[in-house]
């Protein structure tokens, strides 16, 4: 995220996955969500590195889940989006949409010059 509050490409995906998790997202679900909905492969290290950065910037917040249940394994760290995170998503999308507006890729012929 640069000085102007816009998100990097992967930051945006991670943040969206957190939003989708409705407050219950954690590392592994974020990874799954991105893999399923975007089709791209994701390493777990990339996810956490990004989540940490988003938290450092105040765009998400994390809390440790209680390991009360019959679950195995280490305690989950749950993430939820913060108001600043929602704003960053809006800004990022808005800036990009402005440039996509009126662009039709089907229109861009092979010589790269575009038609119509």
């Amino acid at each position: 995220m640069g000085r102007d509050g816009l998100l990097g490409a992967f930051e945006e995906l991670v943040l969206l996955a957190v939003v989708r998790g409705r407050g219950e997202a954690y590392g592994m679900t974020v990874r799954r969500e991105i893999e399923e909905h975007s089709g791209r492969a994701v390493t777990i290290g990339a996810v956490y590195a990004t989540l940490d950065r988003l938290e450092a910037k105040g765009l998400v917040e994390s809390r440790l889940g209680s390991s009360d249940s019959a679950r195995r394994g280490r305690a989950r760290r749950h993430f939820r989006v913060q108001p600043a995170g929602v704003e960053a998503l809006e800004l990022t999308r808005g800036a990009r949409d402005g440039l996509w507006e009126g662009v039709d890729l089907a229109d861009v012929v092979t010589d790269g010059r575009g038609a119509s």
Copy 2:
């Protein structure tokens, strides 16, 4: 652009500005286009660095404009998108759209948990 062919956030903006230029884009117009349509400030160095990288990856192609006219200044370097560039844009948008699908930010209340 990672190993998987997706564009970085700024790469995408630059590439879109090139598409919009319909083969006549050059550094300064790319900058203007991004500033006008996205609202964000852009330095010229950032634009050229990115254009060079996009060209190195075969997503755009550049040619030197003839300085035939009564124009002043150094010759323009015109950029046009290549088929691989169009494909990268499609892929990038597709991956992201998959995650945006069903997300309504107005729906994400301040506690970050989301409604409905």
